[in-house]
């Protein structure tokens, strides 16, 4: 440690340390615990250094700490590459920087890094509470910056924070203008943010129990805002996401992809395969979906959806896929044809794909299927009806807690347990179809949703996750069949909670979920209001992209061109800065004389309450003498104040000295109120 080491001003250090703790705090849930510990240790160490108890670590120790940190990150994550790892390293170096603050430059680096750490938090959360929390953190960091530049003599913490708030407040309008007008450039290179947190949601494969797990989560999946506010009936809301065509006897997985689908999955291909296969497209509904991060590439849309976004592809089994995983809130516009005919002519290889079954498994089910098909004289539609009817009539139960099944799961489910969630029914149904040569597949996504009366948009939660089936019926193409509807019609009509025979199953593990109390109108209204706020935040702030920007600016500026945007932005900024500069750079002399007069009038009003009024033309001195004669107990006070008033009014005083005297006079007049109140009380008492 050098002898002439820089001493960061105390004020600044306090703000810097507070800001450091505050800025790391929201990261803690994602950081390996040891980094949190190191960060806390660094803050503690720095405090000890300030108090003079410890000294900064030596160069070797610091080097060792940095190397250990890097090794630690690799040890924790297995790699150094990736966003979460990068942020961990950043926080680590940022914390260690506290232990190397020998020059003013080090202190600046520390403060500027704080701003950067704030930015990284937004990679993981862009919620309203985080945004507002970060505003407070920004104030603290800026206060640290201001504190560094204040001389030692002028130290008042409130002055520092006031100035920081002032600067941020003045910057706010500029920020809003830039935010609205600055053109949104498409990403320079694509980045993968996924993998830092296990996400709840549908997975790429489906085992009988997998969707039931989602039944216990009240997390939001997405929101859908319908254009013109016309929301289709709840039982029509089948949000298609995934298609499972391959069954290995235990797990359902996506089928072999066509080359076209692979291209579609890379995005950039407009209206690929799927659109071509759709026919008789009627009754389109348009809506915007704001999808919560899934870390997956698939998108959800009402059957059958069509997207006109460049980065969204449409596969031959009518799935929407984005070119990159959705690791942040993603907003997309869709048009859906609720009335459609999909793929009335099935290609041979597709037919094979949708008929695949593991040979020799579940013999009982296969036998039953073949028997019934024969009885229904090989009429596919009648056979479908027969199976559905069987589900409906027999003792099948719809439950979130089905028994675990191994081997021959279809046989065991259909003939033994008969207790299952949508995935059981969908899987078993497709098996029964394929067993007799009817092309069929499982479709997974969400079904239904909740309408928020504020804003008329649909909220879809994880517990709305659902699996249904599609059966290919010749010229009718792919027809949606939902076996769950046969078992528990309430599920489709009213939602999950209503359909569970055992009411306690719903959100069993979420003790404090607000969803549980939605029967309480007060709680429910509050919940929906907050959601409405979040919805708009996501729509207009988080989702403010080039499309929305164009829409928004067109509404105010008419035709928008880049030049026009630049000119409007620059002139608005210019006006803001001009006003600010004018206000800051003009020298204002305080109107002390007015303040003095006002204070004197206040004094007169106190005297007036005792029944004495200053007459026209009566000088303050003469009036004072008259008052003293009437109120002898206030002689000293009144004479003193009158003398001060005369002094302030008639003696030339300059600058700071005068300001102090004026303030003093003002305060004294204010305090005189009590003296007058006291005399008044005495007078009344004496009278009595």
């Amino acid at each position: 440690m050098s002898a002439r080491s820089y001493q960061i001003p105390r004020d600044s250090l306090i703000w810097l340390l507070t800001a450091q703790v505050a800025v790391v705090l929201p990261h803690i849930e994602r950081l390996p615990p040891w980094i949190t510990f190191v960060s806390a240790l660094c803050v503690f160490w720095r405090v000890m250094v300030y108090q003079g108890r410890w000294s900064y670590p030596g160069k070797q120790v610091r080097l060792l700490l940095v190397v250990t940190g890097v090794v630690g990150v690799v040890w924790s994550y297995g790699t150094l590459l990736g966003t979460a790892q990068g942020v961990s390293l950043l926080i680590l170096t940022y914390s260690l920087k506290l232990l190397e603050m020998n020059t003013q430059k080090d202190a600046y680096v520390s403060v500027v890094l704080s701003y950067f750490v704030v930015a990284t938090e937004f990679l993981f959360s862009q919620s309203i509470p985080i945004a507002f929390y970060m505003i407070f953190v920004l104030i603290m960091i800026t206060a640290a910056l201001v504190g560094m530049n204040q001389s030692y003599g002028e130290h008042k913490p409130t002055r520092t924070i006031k100035l920081a708030c002032g600067i941020l407040l003045q910057a706010l309008p500029l920020m809003i203008i830039i935010f609205v007008f600055f053109p949104r450039i498409p990403p320079l290179w694509s980045l993968d943010l996924s993998g830092h947190k296990a996400r709840i949601g549908l997975s790429e494969t489906m085992t009988p129990g997998s969707i039931a797990e989602l039944g216990n989560s009240s997390e939001l999946a997405f929101r859908a805002q319908f254009r013109k506010g016309e929301v289709p009936e709840l039982h029509d809301l089948y949000w298609r996401g995934l298609v499972y065509s391959h069954f290995d006897g235990n797990t359902w997985a996506p089928g072999v992809a066509t080359p076209g689908d692979l291209i579609a999955a890379e995005g950039n291909v407009r209206n690929t395969n799927g659109y071509r296969l759709l026919q008789n497209k009627n009754d389109p509904v348009s809506y915007t979906i704001t999808l919560e991060p899934t870390d997956q590439i698939w998108l959800f849309g009402l059957e059958m959806p069509v997207s006109f976004k460049n980065e969204v592809g449409f596969t031959s089994d009518f799935r929407l896929v984005k070119n990159t995983p959705i690791s942040q809130i993603y907003q997309y516009d869709l048009t859906s044809y609720l009335d459609y005919v999909a793929e009335p002519k099935l290609t041979g290889w597709m037919r094979d794909r949708e008929l695949q079954l593991p040979p020799g498994t579940n013999p009982k089910s296969v036998a039953l299927a073949k028997k019934w098909m024969k009885q229904e004289s090989h009429q596919a539609e009648r056979y479908v009806g027969r199976v559905l009817n069987w589900f409906h009539e027999e003792e099948f139960f719809y439950t979130l807690k089905p028994p675990l099944l191994n081997d021959e799961i279809v046989d065991r489910f259909l003939f033994e347990s008969r207790r299952g969630f949508c995935a059981h029914y969908a899987g078993a149904f497709v098996f029964m179809m394929r067993a007799v040569g009817i092309p069929a597949r499982v479709v997974a996504g969400y079904q239904g949703g909740e309408i928020n009366p504020l804003g008329r948009y649909v909220l879809v939660h994880q517990f709305d996750a659902h699996a249904w089936t599609e059966v290919w019926l010749g010229p009718k193409g792919w027809v949606r069949v939902d076996p769950t509807a046969a078992v528990a019609p309430e599920r489709i009509e009213k939602g999950l909670e209503e359909s569970l025979q055992d009411g306690g199953e719903f959100l069993q593990n979420e003790f404090f979920s607000v969803m549980k109390y939605r029967r309480n109108p007060l709680v429910n209204n509050l919940r929906l209001s907050i959601d409405y706020l979040n919805h708009n935040w996501n729509k207009f702030i988080i989702g403010y992209n080039s499309d929305l920007q164009l829409q928004f600016l067109q509404r105010f500026l008419g035709k928008v061109s880049p030049q026009k945007m630049a000119i409007v932005m620059m002139s608005l900024l210019g006006v803001c800065l001009g006003v600010l500069a004018l206000w800051m750079l003009t020298t204002r002399t305080k109107r002390t004389q007015e303040t003095v007069n006002r204070a004197y009038y206040q004094l007169l009003s106190f005297i007036e309450s005792s029944g004495l009024i200053r007459e026209k033309g009566e000088t303050p001195q003469v009036f004072s003498n008259r008052v003293v004669a009437e109120l002898p107990e206030l002689t000293e006070l009144i004479e003193r104040l009158t003398a001060k008033y005369n002094h302030l009014k008639y003696y030339p005083l300059e600058g700071h000295e005068k300001e102090i005297l004026v303030k003093d006079f003002q305060n004294e007049v204010r305090n005189a109120r009590f003296a007058f109140m006291k005399t008044k009380m005495n007078v009344t008492l004496n009278r009595n």
Binding site: K105, Y108, V109, V112, L113, Y115, F116, V118, A119, F122, L123, Q126, A131, M134, L138, T142, L145, V146, M148, N149, Q150, S151, G153, E154, L163, I167, L168, Q170, A171, L172, L174, M175, I178, F179, F182, R184, I185, P186, P187, L188, S190, L191, Q328, I541, I542, G543, Y544, N545, L577, L580, A581, M584, L585, T587, R588, T589, K590, E654, G655, H656
Partner: protein, 340 residues
Amino acid sequence: MLVKRIRNSIDEKFEKWLRRRIPASSSITLSQKRVFIFPSKAGFFFGGTLAASFVGGINYANSLILALTFFLSSVFVVSILHTFRNLSGLTIASGTVEPCFAGESAVFYVELCRHGSRTYEGIHLFWEGGAEGRADLVDLTEVSVPMFLPANQRGLFRPGRLRIETKFPVGLLRAWSWIDLDVSCYIYPQPVKNEYITNDGVGVDEGPVTNPNGSDDFVGHQQYQTGDSLNHVDWKILARGQPLYTKSFVSHGDDETWLDWANYPGLDVEMRLSYLCFWVLRLSEKNRVFGLRIPGNPIGPNCGNVHKMQCLQMLATYNTRINSQTQTHSHSHSQTVDKT
């Protein structure tokens, strides 16, 4: 060589330009055109960080990161105004000057004055080679900042331009100005102890022996000057309604005491001056009457503060026509420019 010449010519041009823009004056109010502003090193680092987070915001299509970037950019823009405001409108004037001996530090007082409601914080003053001065004008409307400047060479010392600068409030920007306060101060030769050499060339350690209270004779009147002893004021003249006069005495204890340049043969100029300086101080301290004889400009025997100053100034400026302001200037500026 060529580079040096080009640089010198650039420096000269800059100096000329600066002289036109901010001419020398003992009091100056910083107007808009006299204040320069540029991002500091920290400001550039801040800008780099903003660029990084902007690219992050674009690449992750993250609205809040972009919003933060725009917010911080706005803070930067707003702080341009704040930093600029913290210098413009300030009045700077030269205050008193404390001369010194070569090898010591001269003190120049710089007076700062604010007007109206505007306050100034974290003002830094620099003079080439001297210690940094700091000032705040929040509660006070005027401050006087002592600036210590080491003086190595005797002569009339003209410090170069004063650099007044501030990074307040956020340190991301630096506003500064160069002011020529048109001040100067005498740097006296460094006194060096030596034996007194009488006019006969005999060295006497204690100096010339005289009786200071002895038979000093009144020789005439001199107009009163600050620093003169009140004992010598002719009160009678004052009583007649005329200005203050002091009586001059000449000691006749022995013959006139002369500090003579010629008494130190063989020594180099600076040493002679240092020796003479020592005796000027010693004799003045004892309130003795003495004369100073240096080539070209002898000072007749006298005593008192004015006489002492006169002698010291004579010693300071002896043969120093080269010690002009231009030299000091361009020298100091070539370095100041480098720093910016």
